[in-house]
Amino acid sequence: MRKPLSAFAVHAILGLYTLLALFPIVLVVMNSFKARRAIFNTPLRPPMPSNFDPVGYTKVFGDSSLPFYYLNSITVTVGTIFFTLLFGAMAAWALTEYKFRWNTLLALFLSIGIMVPIRLGSVAIIQLVAEINLINTLTALILVYTAQNLPLAIFILSEFIAQIPKDLREAARCDGLSEYNIFFHIILPLIRPAMATVAVFTMIPVWNDLWFPLLLAPAGGKQTITLGVQQFLGQYITDWNAVLAALSTAIVPVLLLYVIFSRQLIRGLTSGAVK
């Protein structure tokens, strides 16, 4: 008799949390379609013919540089996901599969990155990036974000790779696959759910980050969308229509990426491999 009750309680709590988490987003999207006066006078009222005003969107889409900012954000995010997954999975495979000197020490060293915020090294990163002439490039951002996300990626992926039965790798070795082929044809397909998890974890902070774009690529048309929105935030006047419209549209690409990756989060992919 206790079980349905507790299930109900769990769902109630989750539902409440969902409402809480979605509320500001709904507010942003709602108000992005309203006139400036309506945003301030009746912020909680949904858009209606009486207060509807797409001025924010016309401004955002009318701005010739904003599409480039979107593209920059997408490039940086996708690039970071790609390199984080590739290098993360490779490092995780090496650390779990091969026994070599300093193996444990190296794994520990890599996991330190999870605990130390990369922003503490901002000054050194700027110096380094300036030295190698990568200021105002997307490459700089991708490199920094990949470094930032690798430790957690390696940590998560190692756990998953360790769960792949040893017999599978040995069967592949008997089948004559090179170590690279084992990695790409056996290991990668089997840790797809884990890679999707890592991709989602990686994607959102990178997409939302303001700090490194501000430090490393603040000009030269290489701004990301989070930085691009800042042009509507003035010291004395803020163009709220444009800010809300830009924020609303910024949700779309990351939502699409999330949908793509969440489809990979299928459980039980390895079932049937071994008894």
Partner: protein
């Protein structure tokens, strides 16, 4: 197919020696079964032949080619794992053809070989299924199929039947025996099940603590075990061991246990020996002039036509004797146990057979 020759093979994990001076020849087309208790090194030996386990010393030759430093794929072996180790993200056909694909075999030939293996193993209707949609027995056949398509010099089986249920195990055992004849394959097979060993092998290799205790034809091992370990390991229920001392003209097994019999010359009076006799070589209550021992029935197990009587001997030990038909034997009965002198095994103080 090829001959496998293993000479002075050694393997240590740190200070622990798991294989000690293994010498073994697997004849071309031979079926060698490695048996032994857990941790005896039989799987390690198989993995060393496969190339999955580096060795510490000695040589392994397959088809006249020394393979010590070759990768598994270059040794022209195929291994069937206890866990099957099928690639879960590929269908049956892809699983079987996977190795060939990476060896650069033309597509048409891969399809032909997979089709041939599928026909032999009756896997044709399952070629498009994923491993998770197969039963245990089907998975096992796919694993064997994956080995067949590669046309290896040597097949290596690592306890392939352990994960199957009893009925399926017997079927698959018969299939493996037929397959061996059909392919004229050289096979090295690891198991801890001595029935598999007895029925499948041309040659059984009994291993214990990293050493080969004895190798030979199944029935040779059964009728002439070289030492106590092999005598106790081969046969079910196990051979009965009766410790005693050699006396003039016979042997003394303890209270009421003086038996007169001819003993080998090596057993001089005063030597501590162990008498071994299998359950089927003992008779209950029919002495007929045979050496016999008084005993009390402890338990009777009936399996139908045959059965086993667990007996407490007057000398203090326990013994199991086979019974046939309806004997009317009950727990607590006092009886006599006759030993067939033609089937007595005598082991010396060091456990070696002396007669």
């Amino acid at each position: 197919m090829a001959e496998v020759v293993i000479e002075n093979l050694k393997k240590s994990f740190g200070a622990v020696e798991v294989l000690k001076d293994i010498d073994l020849t697997v004849e071309d087309g031979g079926f060698v079964v490695l048996v032994g208790p857990s941790g005896c090194g039989k799987s390690t030996l198989l993995r060393a032949v496969a190339g999955l386990e580096p060795v510490s010393g000695g040589t392994i030759t397959i088809g006249g080619r020394k393979v010590n430093d070759l990768a598994p794929a270059q040794r022209e072996i195929a291994m069937v794992f206890q866990s099957y180790a099928l690639y879960p993200h590929m269908d049956v056909a892809a699983n079987m053809g996977f190795g060939l694909k990476f060896a650069g075999t033309p597509k048409a030939e891969i399809a032909a070989r997979v089709g041939e293996a599928a026909r032999i193993l009756q896997l044709e209707p399952l070629l498009k299924r994923r491993p998770r949609e197969l039963s245990g027995g089907q998975r096992q056949r796919v694993a064997i199929g994956r080995a067949i398509v590669r046309k290896p010099q040597v097949f290596l089986f690592d306890e392939p039947l352990s994960n199957l249920d009893a009925a399926l195990r017997i079927n698959t055992r018969v299939e493996i025996a037929k397959l061996h004849k059909l392919l004229a394959a050289t096979i090295v097979y690891v198991t801890h099940d001595q029935v598999e060993a007895m029925t499948l092998a041309d040659k059984i290799v009994v291993m214990n603590q990293g050493r080969i205790e004895q190798q030979g034809k199944p029935l040779d091992l059964y009728y002439r075990p070289a030492n106590l370990f092999v005598a106790g390991f081969i046969g079910s229920p196990a051979m009965n061991f009766l410790p005693g001392v050699v006396v003039e003209g016979g042997i003394d097994l303890g209270e009421n246990g003086r038996l007169s019999m001819a003993l080998p010359a090596a057993a001089s009076p005063g030597t501590r020996i162990t008498l071994g006799i299998r359950p089927e070589h003992m008779r209950i209550a029919e002495t007929a002039g045979l050496p016999s021992l008084p005993a009390t029935v402890d338990l009777v197990e009936r399996l139908g036509e045959t059965g086993f009587a667990h007996l407490r001997l007057a000398t203090g030990g326990m013994a199991i004797a086979e019974i046939r038909g309806e004997t009317g034997l009950r727990t607590g009965d006092k009886t006599v146990l006759a030993l067939d002198p033609a089937h007595l095994h005598v082991f010396g103080p060091d456990g070696r057979r002396i007669g």
